[in-house]
C-alpha cells in the first residue's frame, strides 16, 4: 500500500516540478504515438470503408484476418520490424533501427488493423442504412466512401481513439525497435519498464499515473476539437 501512495505522490511531484526529463519522454511518447495514429488512421479508415462497400471473393477472409490482427502481439511485431530494419536485414541501409521512426512504424502496424476493423463495423451499419439512397443518387464509389466516412465520423473517432489507446500504452514492440535509449528513444512505457526493473516501484507507478493522465488529456483534447460529447450534440 505504501508504494501506491508514494506512487501518487511521485506523480504529482514529477508533473508539478516540471522535471525536464519527464517532459522530454512525455513529448516523445506523444510524438511517436500521435504520428503512428495519424498514419494508421489514414490507412485504416478508408480501408475499413472500402471493405464495407465492396463485395469481392475473399472479403470474408480479409475481414476475419483483419479482425484477428487487432490482437497482434506487440513483441512479435517488434521482432519482425527489428529483423527488417537490422543492418543485416533487407531495409538495414535506411539506418532506421533505434530511432523514433522505427517506433512509429511498429505502432502504426500494430494499430492499423484495429482502426480498420472498428471503422469497418461502424461503416457497414451505416452503409446498410445509406445503401439505397447512395445507389439511387448514382454516387461513384469514391463519393460513397467519402459520404460514409463523413457521416460516420463519430464512430471513426472512436476507432482512432482505440488505436491511440493501444499505441500509447504499448511497450513490447517499441522496446525492441527503439531500444529504450536515454535522450533518444526512451518513452513513458519503456521508462516505466526500466524503473520497475530497477526496483523503483513507486517511481515507476508515478510515471504510470502521469501516462494515464496524459492519455485522458489527449482524449479530452480531441473531443474538444471535434466538438463531440457536448450538451447540444450528444
Amino acid at each position: 500500500m505504501d508504494s501506491i501512495f508514494q506512487g501518487l505522490f511521485q506523480a504529482f511531484h514529477l508533473v508539478l516540478t516540471l522535471d525536464p526529463d519527464l517532459y522530454r519522454i512525455m513529448a516523445l511518447s506523444l510524438r511517436v504515438t500521435l504520428t503512428a495514429v495519424v498514419i494508421a488512421a489514414a490507412i485504416g479508415l478508408p480501408l475499413g470503408a472500402w471493405l464495407a462497400v465492396n463485395r469481392f471473393r475473399y472479403r470474408r477472409l480479409t475481414i476475419a484476418v483483419l479482425n484477428a490482427f487487432m490482437g497482434l502481439p506487440p513483441v512479435v511485431v517488434g521482432l519482425f520490424i527489428y529483423l527488417l530494419l537490422s543492418r543485416s536485414g533487407p531495409l538495414g541501409v535506411l539506418g532506421l533501427l533505434f530511432t523514433p521512426a522505427a517506433m512509429i512504424i511498429a505502432q502504426a502496424i500494430l494499430i492499423t488493423p484495429l482502426i480498420a476493423s472498428i471503422a469497418h463495423q461502424a461503416i457497414r451499419d451505416l452503409w446498410s442504412e445509406y445503401h439505397d439512397l447512395l445507389i439511387s443518387l448514382n454516387a461513384t464509389r469514391a463519393q460513397r466512401i467519402k459520404a460514409l466516412l463523413w457521416d460516420g465520423r463519430r464512430a471513426l473517432l472512436t476507432a482512432t481513439l482505440a488505436g491511440f489507446g493501444r499505441a500509447i500504452g504499448e511497450v513490447g514492440a517499441i522496446m525492441i525497435v527503439g531500444g529504450n535509449i536515454e535522450y533518444s528513444t526512451r518513452v513513458m512505457t519503456t521508462a516505466i519498464a526500466l524503473e520497475t526493473s530497477k526496483g523503483n516501484l513507486a517511481f515507476a507507478l508515478g510515471l504510470g499515473i502521469v501516462l494515464i493522465g496524459l492519455a485522458v488529456l489527449v482524449n479530452l483534447g480531441i473531443h474538444w476539437l471535434g466538438r463531440t460529447e457536448r450538451a447540444s450534440n450528444w
Binding site: S86, R87, I181, E182, K198
Partner: protein
C-alpha cells in the same frame, strides 16, 4: 494554477519540438548490470566532454548485446561472458577484446538465511546447500552474462542445466532487476552482480549473504564491432571510445566510483587488446 498549466504546456511543447543534433553519435550495447550500476552516468558525460562523442546505450543482457553486435546494429559491445565473447570473435564479428574493468557477483537470499549459505566456503558449496534444501532459487534464465556465470557455478557444484528443474529452481527469463523483484516477492535465493544489488530499490527481506569467492569475479570487456564483416558500423568512433575507456582518466573515474560508500569496479585495462 493557470500559470502552472501554461508552464506545463510550454515544457511539453518545447520538448516536443526540441531537436538534438550532436556532432558524433555511436551506439553501444551494454549489459543491464553496467547500466544499473550507474557508472555510465559518470563516464558518458566525460566522454562527451573530452571527445565530443555521444554514446547511445542499448541496455540488454549479454546474449542480446552480442546478437545486436553480430547483426551490425551497434558499433561496440560492453559485455561480461568470456566464452560467449570468444565465440563472437571466432565468428568474425568483433575487432578485438579489450579488458576494461571487473567487479563481482554476490549471492542474495532471505535475511535470516534459512539454508545457512553464510557459512559456505565457496560459491559452489553455497549453491549445493540451496539445492539440497530445495529452497527456492531464482535464476535469470535469459542467456545473459550473469546467467552463464550462474550456470557455470552450478556445474561446478555438480548440477548440469538439465538437473536444474523442479519447483525450487525458477528461471525468471528476465533482466537482473526484474529477477531481484521476483526473488524479493518469493523470498528466494538468487545471484546478482554487486552493482545492481546495491542500487536495487525493492530489497524487502533480502540481504547479501555470500561474496568473495574468486570464482565470482566478473570481467567487463569492450569489443568494437568488426567493420570488415559489418560495413557501416562506426568502428572509428568505437576505437576512440576504447582509447578513452583505457586511459588514466577513465581508470581514476572507474576506481573512484562508489555506491553507498562501497567501491564497485576495479580498472584492469592493459596497454593493448587481448
Amino acid at each position: 494554477m493557470r500559470r502552472l498549466l501554461k508552464l506545463m504546456a510550454i515544457s511539453l511543447a518545447a520538448a516536443l519540438f526540441a531537436g538534438t543534433a550532436p556532432a558524433e553519435t555511436m551506439k553501444m550495447a551494454v549489459t543491464t548490470s553496467f547500466e544499473n550500476s550507474g557508472l555510465g552516468k559518470v563516464l558518458l558525460p566525460e566522454v562527451k566532454k573530452d571527445l565530443g562523442l555521444d554514446v547511445k546505450l542499448l541496455v540488454v543482457g549479454t546474449g542480446a548485446a552480442l546478437r545486436l553486435g553480430a547483426n551490425g546494429d551497434v558499433d561496440a559491445v560492453l559485455v561480461h561472458a568470456k566464452n560467449a565473447e570468444l565465440k563472437f570473435m571466432k565468428q568474425g564479428n568483433g575487432l578485438h577484446r579489450r579488458l576494461i574493468m571487473y567487479n563481482d557477483f554476490v549471492l542474495i537470499g532471505p535475511k535470516e538465511d534459512p539454508v545457512g549459505i553464510k557459512k559456505a566456503k565457496t560459491a559452489a558449496e553455497a549453491l549445493k546447500m540451496i539445492a539440497a534444501a530445495k529452497f527456492p532459487f531464482v535464476s535469470r534464465g535469459d542467456d545473459s552474462g550473469t546467467n552463464k556465470k550462474e550456470l557455470a557455478l552450478w556445474k561446478e557444484a555438480g548440477f548440469d542445466k538439465a538437473d536444474l528443474k523442479g519447483s525450487w529452481y525458477r528461471a525468471a527469463g528476465a533482466g537482473m532487476g526484474a529477477t531481484l523483484n521476483v526473488a524479493a516477492g518469493m523470498n528466494a535465493y538468487t545471484m546478482s552482480d554487486r552493482a545492481t544489488w546495491l542500487k536495487f530499490g525493492n530489497k524487502r527481506d533480502l540481504a547479501l549473504l555470500f561474496a568473495g569467492d574468486p570464482k565470482l569475479f566478473n570481467q567487463y570487456t569492450l569489443i568494437p564491432v568488426n567493420p570488415k564483416t559489418h560495413p557501416g558500423v562506426r568502428t572509428d568512433l568505437a576505437l576512440k571510445l576504447e582509447d578513452w575507456l583505457t586511459s588514466p582518466k577513465a581508470a581514476k573515474l572507474i576506481n573512484g566510483y562508489r555506491i553507498k560508500g562501497e567501491k564497485l569496479f576495479t580498472f584492469n585495462a592493459k596497454s593493448a587488446p587481448e
